[in-house]
Amino acid sequence: MGAASRETRHGCPMTERLGLASPPGLADHLRTFGPMPLPGGRSGGQPGPLVDEVERAGLRGRGGGWFPTHLKLRAVVESSESRGRLSRTRQPLVIANGMEGEPASSKDVVLLTSSPHLVLDGIEAAARTIGATDAFIAVHRGSPAIEVLERAIAERPASGLPITLVTPPARYVASEESALSHWVGDGVAQPVYPDRPFQKGAGGRPTLVQNVETLAHLALIARYGGAWFAEVGAPSAPGTTLVSLGGALGHMGVVEVPTGTPVKDLLGRAGGTTSPVRGFLTGGYGGGWVAADGFMSTPWDPDSVRAAGGVIGASILWAVGAEVCPLEELDRITRWMAGESAGQCGPCIFGLPALADDVHSLASRRSDATRDVRLQRHLTLVTGRGGCKHPDGVARLVATALSAFPDEVAIHGDGRCSAHPGAGTHLPVPPVRVPVIDPSGRDFR
């Protein structure tokens, strides 16, 4: 009944919930989604009732981790509580994460420029639920979403919750949640260890960091309920998800599909493949490569993608055409990721460039008898030793490329490559930085 009424009242097809096709203004927003019912607020140590609806929905975070949203909401409330009362110095806050550090992702900017009010609704609903009195929305410096968001924030009626637009530097690690809360608190977008934002975030306050798409889904759950939300999608991670599609496809772009949609159907939504596909990069540059064989039928949800050897992450799917060398792609990405270290932990500052050298040696088909041993040692040395998961992500990127493309690795060892130089569509890599030791965060302000 909820689904039917939602469809007839607002005329949205069931699987395109986030309003990507509608204009960004408030009037259009209200016409598309209807008025936002104000959810009940937090009372003492109890989060507002929306948390139960979110649990019923089974909403999981769309920023990359797919962590259950209701658990995060409850954790912030719990850590802000002192003997059943809300202590003033432990007043929670909300940060909406629209940083989109992954170069192959564009789903957050597409969402923010088409449905900014849905995200802002979600921020207000989350803030009431956890008892936050201020909120921030973060997009990277220079983001095309800035202007749309400024206009959207200005045209909303006063709700009592100030929402401040902030623009941290456009660095890969700046979108990591502890880095983002560090930036809001102290103006330094470097990750923090070992405190997690929900315990001790911006200015030491319990901080709810949620991806902007997660907050948009939250706003829909506040309107139409958890049961409605879970009517589509994979049971283990219900709802719809945005997907950034790219590579050897008819057209690149962002689609909204129910979670669990098979990979081949996602490719169909992007106009199909334009050349034989040898494999995919899943999840982004801290994600994983998979061979095309057997992956086409994999349902696009976190558990199924992981079982198939990939990572859904921030829902990025990039098709690598047969004319492209995956090891050369890996080489360029690994070098860029090494330069995106926050410059805080030794194994990352020194280990990632060492790993990038090993990968470069392989990709450029150098004859090097000790390379494999070195590469394996460096993979081990950068894993599990950083204050954030940046080095772990790079290690996974490298290790999964080796296992997804064993034939290509073997012929590179013999000085050959099966790709056509210069042909095909290549993964986007921004200008490379030289990694530096940066304890004061001067490059992250």
Partner: protein, 73 residues
């Protein structure tokens, strides 16, 4: 007091800047990697410390000039 004698040696990788003194204070517990950063048993940021190892772990903690090592109950 406690019947649980186990301790955990925890490394804060952001505070650590690779002076390497922990290794010289407790060479049997802490190795250094090829860049001079401490390598704990198991390869991660925390390692279990037996009763026999506790004094050596304390020496490593006290040797660290950046207070990056902690012995936790």
């Amino acid at each position: 007091m406690s019947d649980d004698d186990s301790r955990t040696l925890a490394l804060d990788p952001i505070a650590c800047d690779g002076r390497g003194l922990c290794h010289y204070a407790a060479p049997d517990l802490i190795d250094l990697d090829e860049w001079g950063y401490p390598l704990l048993r198991g390869g991660g940021l925390r390692m279990g410390i037996s009763r026999e190892e506790r004094d050596a772990a304390r020496d490593a903690v006290h040797a660290c000039p950046t207070l990056a090592l902690h012995l936790e109950r």
